[in-house]
């Protein structure tokens, strides 16, 4: 979401290009305003299977199954969704499955909804406690290279890696009907 009147940001398209280059074949997501453009690109890409989830923890299972079947998956979620994943992350840790999470942050920059603050404020600490490596992106220019580095670390380094995309980068929410 960009500031009203400003041109649409290109970093979601750049992240999409990285996912394609990284041979991501399955993308699990829960609908999210911050990831709206990226979700749209993934849904339109024939080489990717975009799987809409009812809750983010389903994505951890999806990614595990994809890996068992020889495919790479990425999961797109909001910081609140990280809280929904905690126990299911034991699947990735116990089996050493790679995991690539792209997390749009809430509750940290011009947040208008107080209910987003509790989970947003502990998202990064929760991930680290669950043995998920975290990278942060706060500037559009570093989004693509950070996701590319995270994908390499996840799939070649065999780790669970999350990229936290700052709320300031996503911008103020623009309400739509």
């Amino acid at each position: 979401m960009s500031e009203p009147g400003s041109p649409a940001p290109t970093w979601p398209d750049e992240i999409f290009a990285v996912l394609r280059r990284s041979e991501i074949r399955q993308v699990g997501y829960v609908p999210d305003a911050g990831h709206a453009r990226l979700i749209e690109r993934c849904r339109a890409e024939p080489a990717m299977k975009a799987v809409v989830l009812t809750t983010e923890e389903e994505g951890i299972g999806l990614a595990a199954g994809a890996w068992l079947g020889g495919q790479r998956a990425a999961l797109l979620m909001q910081s609140s969704g990280v809280g929904n994943c905690i126990n299911m992350l034991s699947l990735a840790k116990s089996c050493r499955f790679p995991l690539l999470l792209l997390v749009t942050m809430r509750g940290e920059w011009a947040e208008f909804n107080p209910w987003q603050v509790p989970m947003g404020s502990i998202t990064e600490a929760s991930l680290r406690l669950a043995d998920v490596t975290t990278h942060r992106v706060d500037e559009a220019a570093s989004a693509a290279e950070t996701v590319a580095a995270a994908a390499d670390l996840a799939f070649n380094g065999e780790l669970a890696v999350a990229v936290l995309i700052g709320q300031r980068l996503i911008g103020r929410k623009r309400w739509v009907e």
Partner: protein, 199 residues
Amino acid sequence: MLDRRAAIGALLADRRDLLVVAGLGSTTYDLASLGDDDRNFYLWGAMGGAAMIGLGLALAKPNLRVVVVTGDGEMLMGMGSLATIGVQKPKNLAVVMFDNGHYGETGMQASHTQGGVDLVSVANVLGRLCDVCRSTKEVERFDDAGEVARFVVDDVDHDLASRRVSESASQRGLVAAALRVGFLVVSCLFVSDELWLMG
């Protein structure tokens, strides 16, 4: 009622290239009891995740058949995944839920299916064609599933010895039926010597 372990044995007796994901608890022990296989994936945690692992695997391997075997308690924790699978509708994925009405891993407490929750109806409402091996009337919809489904029903109705499932059933037919309907509920009798108290 069916013997759960015998029923899983019948399901997998002629598995060929079948990939199997077993959910936390008794279904994992049942799968392991049949002998290990590289095509098995066992869960002993990540409760509620079995069906989604099956979905990811089925999407990654569209030319192979994937069956998730899990219990009612594990399925109840992952109910939303039925909706997610209902959207994707992969033809090569079947979820076979062995419904014994109990949480075996924690001491056989009653599950929601004993309280009137019908997971077949839930799955149907969510857009999957489902069926249950529980009564003759319900299984009449297995038009081309053949002898197996009917046998399972007969077994329930007449309380025959469970071993007859594996002796008489056409196992390939049961798998085919499960894949055709996508979600199959098999009502099972709890087998007392398999009680695991894991807290």
